[in-house]
C-alpha cells in the first residue's frame, strides 16, 4: 500500500500494473537429450513464468486491464476464464502483447480443489522409486513449511540452519563452458573482496589463539591483532595445501550450496543430493498450496465422515505400451492438469486385471481412457516440476463417487446395523428419490434405465436389500 507521503502521481504509478508486474522467470532450461529435440513453443510450460492477471467483469467488457491501452474484446472476453499474461507491456510497435493464462490459472484452481499439501521430496535412488517410499501411509510426509527446512537466512539464534536458498550457484550443475564463464564474469572481480574476507578470518583465528594462550597464562587478552599483507599471503599459501579448509572458506564466501550428506550437521541443503538434481530452484511449495498437513476429513452428505479424500478422475496421457515405442516404465496419468507416473501400476496392481486404456491405447472410449485415483503425495523437484504420487481407488470408493454398483464380493457377510435399517424416511409421503434433490457433489442420474448403472441409493423403500446394498457398497470400514 502506498504511504500517505507519496504524491498522487507516485501512488498511482506504484499501484499500476506497469510496476506491479514482476519480471518473468527464465523459461525452463532446454536439455540436449534426443527426445527433447522435438518440442512445441506453444506447449504449456511445467511452471508459470509470467504473472497472470485478471480484471473485473465490467472492466473486461470495456477492455480495461489496467494497462496502457484497452485489449481487444474478441480475444479476451470470449472465454469463461478470462485471465491473461503480458509478454510485452508496450512493444516497439505500440502493441501490448498478451496471451491467455488460463492454462496455469486453471491448473492452480484444480490443484487447490484437490487440496493436497506439498511435502519434502522423497530421496530418490536413480529412476526407480518404489511405491512404498512414496506412499504416505508407509512413509509419512514432512511439510515443506517446517521450520527446520523453510529457511532463507544462513543462520539464526541456534547457529547454522538448513535452507533452500543460496546466493551462489550450484557448481556441479554447470557445464565446463558455463563454469568458465562464471569464473570470468563473477569470480575474477571479487579477488580483492576475498582477500578482505581472508583478513577477517585470519584476525578471528589469531585472536582466538591469543586468547587461548593468555588463558593458559592466567590473564586476559584484549589487545589488537595486527595483520600485514605478507601475513595474508602466507595464510593463502597455507590454505592451498589444506584443501578442505580452503573449500569451506570458498563455500562460505560465495554462499555455495553444500553438496554433502543432508544428515550431517554442516549440511545446509534441504534437498537430497545423491541425484543429479541440485538445490531447489524455488520454494519447495512453489506457492501451489499453503496447507501443512492433509489431516482433515471429508464429510460425505449421506455417508458421513470419510476415511479417504474424494477420488479424482485422471486421464491416461500415455498408456504403458505404445505403438512403435519401447515399453514404458508405467503409464502416465494426467491429474488435474499435472502429468504423473502411475507408480501403483508397477507394484500392487501388476498382476491385477488392468482396465482398458492403461496398458494399451484405448480408441473406443469417448474422450480417452480415464480412471479414478487418489492424489497421495506431492512435492516440487529441483527443476520446479510437480512430482505427484497417486494411489488407485478401491472399487467401493469408486462406486461412491461414480454411481456404479460394484459386484458383490462372494462370502462377504456384512452385519446390518438395525438402527440404520429401521430409520424412518422423513419424506415417506412421496416417492423418495435422492436423485431429484440437489446432489451435494454426488452425481445421481435421474434417467436410470440400466440396473447396472442405477444409483445405489435409488431403491424401493423399506427394503432390507436396499440397506444391504448400501452397506455392501460402502463396506463396514468406510464410515468412521
Amino acid at each position: 500500500m502506498a504511504s500517505k507521503k507519496l504524491s498522487p502521481t507516485a501512488s498511482l504509478l506504484k499501484n499500476s500494473r506497469l510496476f506491479s508486474l514482476p519480471p518473468p522467470l527464465p523459461r525452463p532450461s532446454h536439455d540436449f537429450t534426443a527426445t527433447s529435440n522435438f518440442n512445441s513453443d506453444t506447449a504449456t510450460l511445467p511452471y508459470p513464468t509470467h504473472a497472470s492477471i485478471e480484471t473485473t467483469q465490467p472492466s473486461l467488457y470495456r477492455g480495461d486491464w489496467g494497462l496502457k491501452r484497452p485489449l481487444p474484446q474478441k480475444s479476451t472476453a470470449n472465454t469463461s476464464t478470462p485471465s491473461i499474461r503480458i509478454d510485452d507491456i508496450d512493444s516497439i510497435d505500440h502493441i501490448t502483447e498478451f496471451e491467455s493464462a488460463s492454462d496455469h490459472t486453471l491448473t492452480l484452481r484444480k490443484w487447490q480443489e484437490i487440496g493436497l499439501p506439498l511435502s519434502m521430496p522423497v530421496k530418490q535412488r536413480g529412476a526407480s522409486v518404489s511405491d512404498s517410499t512414496l506412499n504416505t501411509r508407509a512413509t509419512p510426509p514432512t511439510s515443506v513449511f517446517e521450520s527446520t527446512y523453510d529457511n532463507t537466512e544462513r543462520r539464526n539464534d541456534q547457529g547454522d540452519v538448513r535452507r533452500w536458498k543460496f546466493k551462489g550457484p550450484w557448481l556441479a550443475g554447470k557445464t565446463e563452458g558455463e563454469f568458465d564463464l562464471y569464473l570470468e564474469r563473477h569470480i575474477k572481480q571479487r579477488k580483492l573482496e576475498f582477500r578482505d574476507f581472508l583478513r577477517g578470518r585470519l584476525v578471528k583465528e589469531r585472536r582466538l589463539d591469543q586468547q587461548r594462550k593468555a588463558q593458559e597464562r592466567g590473564d586476559e587478552f584484549d589487545g589488537q591483532i595486527e595483520i600485514t599483507e605478507t601475513d595474508i599471503d602466507l595464510y593463502l599459501k597455507q590454505l592451498r595445501h589444506d584443501e578442505v579448509r580452503l573449500y569451506m572458506l570458498v563455500e562460505d564466501f560465495l554462499d555455495l550450496p553444500i553438496s554433502g550428506d543432508p544428515q550431517q550437521a554442516n549440511a545446509t541443503f534441504v534437498v537430497m543430493m545423491d541425484s543429479d538434481q541440485g538445490p531447489p530452484k524455488t520454494h519447495l511449495s512453489a506457492g501451489l498450496s499453503y496447507l501443512r498437513t492433509a489431516s482433515h476429513m471429508t464429510n460425505h452428505p449421506v455417508l458421513g465422515p470419510m476415511e479417504e479424500e474424494p477420488p479424482v478422475q485422471a486421464r491416461v496421457l500415455r498408456p504403458q505400451y505404445t505403438r512403435g515405442l519401447a515399453k514404458g516404465f508405467c503409464a502416465i496419468l494426467g491429474i488435474g492438469g499435472v502429468a504423473a507416473d502411475d507408480v501403483t501400476m508397477r507394484t500392487a496392481f501388476r498382476n491385477a486385471r488392468e482396465k482398458t486404456g492403461i496398458l494399451n491405447f484405448d480408441a473406443e472410449t469417448e474422450g480417452g481412457a480415464k480412471l479414478w485415483v487418489l492424489p497421495d503425495r506431492a512435492s516440487i523437484d529441483a527443476h520446479g516440476r510437480i512430482k505427484l504420487h497417486t494411489l488407485r481407488v478401491t472399487t467401493a470408493d469408486e462406486a461412491i463417487y461414480q454411481n456404479v454398483v460394484p459386484e458383490p464380493v462372494a462370502g462377504k457377510q456384512v452385519p446390518v446395523n438395525p438402527a440404520f435399517s429401521t430409520m424412518p424416511r422423513l419424506d415417506s409421503s412421496r416417492p423418495s428419490r435422492l436423485g431429484n434433490s440437489p446432489a451435494y457433489g454426488l452425481r445421481f442420474d435421474d434417467s436410470n434405465q440400466n440396473p447396472k448403472t442405477a444409483s445405489p441409493l435409488d431403491v424401493p423403500q423399506n427394503s432390507d436389500d436396499s440397506v444391504q446394498s448400501i452397506v455392501d457398497l460402502v463396506g463396514p470400514h468406510r464410515g468412521k
Binding site: 491448473t107 565446463e176 563452458g177 568458465d180 496421457l317 492438469g337
Partner: protein, 248 residues
C-alpha cells in the same frame, strides 16, 4: 482425413473392408458391429413355388435352402465381426499414430496440449543426415533454444582438429562443411570449426568426400553379389539397383 498416412498395404486392406474407415467420432449406428449386424440376405421364399413337385422333394428343398441360408448368415456374421475387429484395430493404430507428445511426469497440460495441432508440433521430423541441431526449421522453438555446443562444453574447436569423430559431425554426407544454420554455432566457433575441418582434410585425417570412392565401389559390388536377382527388374537387377549419381 488421415488415410494418406497409412502405408499402402494397410490402405488397400482398409478400403477393401469398408469404403470409409470411420473414426471414433463417427456416429455408432452407421458402423457395422457384431451387436447389430445388418439384416441377413433375403432367403428365397418357398411359398410362391407353383411347381407340381412331390411333397417330400419340396420339404427337402426347403430344409436345404434353410440350412444354406443359416450357414451363410453365420459365415457373414463371423466375417463381419472379424472385419469389425480389424477395423477397430486400424482405428486405434491410426489414432495412436497422432499422439506424438511423450508426456513426462511433472509436465503441466491444458486442453490445447492434447489438440491435434499441438500434437503435430511434437512429431519427430526426419533426421537430416545426423546434423547436430538443425532438425527443426528456423523459426521453430528449437531454433530459439539452441545453444552453441562448443560454448556449453568450453571447447575450442581448433584444438579438436585431430578428433575426427567431432569433425565428421560438421561435415555433410557429400563432404561439405555444414552451414551455421544447421550446426547452431555462433560465428566465431563456426569459423573455427570450418578451419579445423579444412585442416583435418588437409592432413588426410578426414576425407574430402563422405566416403572414399573405392569404398563406395566396393560397397556397390558387395550389394550386387549378396542381393538376390529379381525377375522383371531388367538389367538394373544385376547391378543391385544401385547406381551412384554421376554414373561412373
Amino acid at each position: 482425413m488421415a488415410s494418406h498416412t497409412l502405408p499402402r498395404p494397410f490402405l488397400r486392406l482398409a478400403f477393401r473392408t469398408h469404403p470409409i474407415r470411420p473414426f471414433s467420432s463417427t456416429t455408432p449406428h452407421l458402423l457395422p458391429s457384431p451387436q447389430n449386424p445388418p439384416p441377413p440376405p433375403q432367403t428365397p421364399n418357398p411359398q410362391p413355388q407353383q411347381n407340381p413337385t412331390p411333397v417330400s422333394n419340396l420339404k427337402g428343398l426347403i430344409s436345404s435352402i434353410g440350412r444354406d441360408a443359416q450357414a451363410q448368415t453365420t459365415a457373414t456374421t463371423a466375417r463381419r465381426s472379424a472385419l469389425a475387429e480389424t477395423e477397430a484395430a486400424y482405428r486405434a493404430t491410426d489414432l495412436e499414430r497422432h499422439l506424438h507428445r511423450r508426456f513426462r511426469p511433472g509436465d503441466i497440460y491444458a486442453p490445447h496440449d492434447l489438440s491435434p495441432t499441438e500434437q503435430a508440433k511434437w512429431r519427430p521430423r526426419a533426421a537430416s543426415g545426423g546434423s547436430l541441431q538443425g532438425r527443426g526449421h528456423p523459426g521453430n522453438a528449437h531454433a530459439q533454444n539452441r545453444r552453441d555446443v562448443f560454448d556449453v562444453l568450453g571447447i575450442n574447436p581448433l584444438d579438436e582438429y585431430k578428433n575426427f569423430s567431432i569433425m565428421t559431425e560438421f561435415v555433410s554426407s557429400m563432404g561439405r562443411i555444414r552451414h551455421r544454420r544447421e550446426t547452431g554455432l555462433r560465428g566465431v566457433n563456426q569459423r573455427r570449426v570450418a578451419k579445423a575441418v579444412r585442416r583435418a582434410v588437409g592432413m588426410g585425417l578426414l576425407p574430402s568426400v563422405h566416403k572414399h570412392p573405392e569404398m563406395l565401389e566396393k560397397e556397390a559390388e558387395e550389394m550386387a553379389r549378396t542381393r538376390p536377382v529379381r525377375m522383371n527388374t531388367g538389367p538394373r537387377g544385376r547391378e543391385g539397383g544401385f547406381r551412384r549419381p554421376g554414373g561412373r
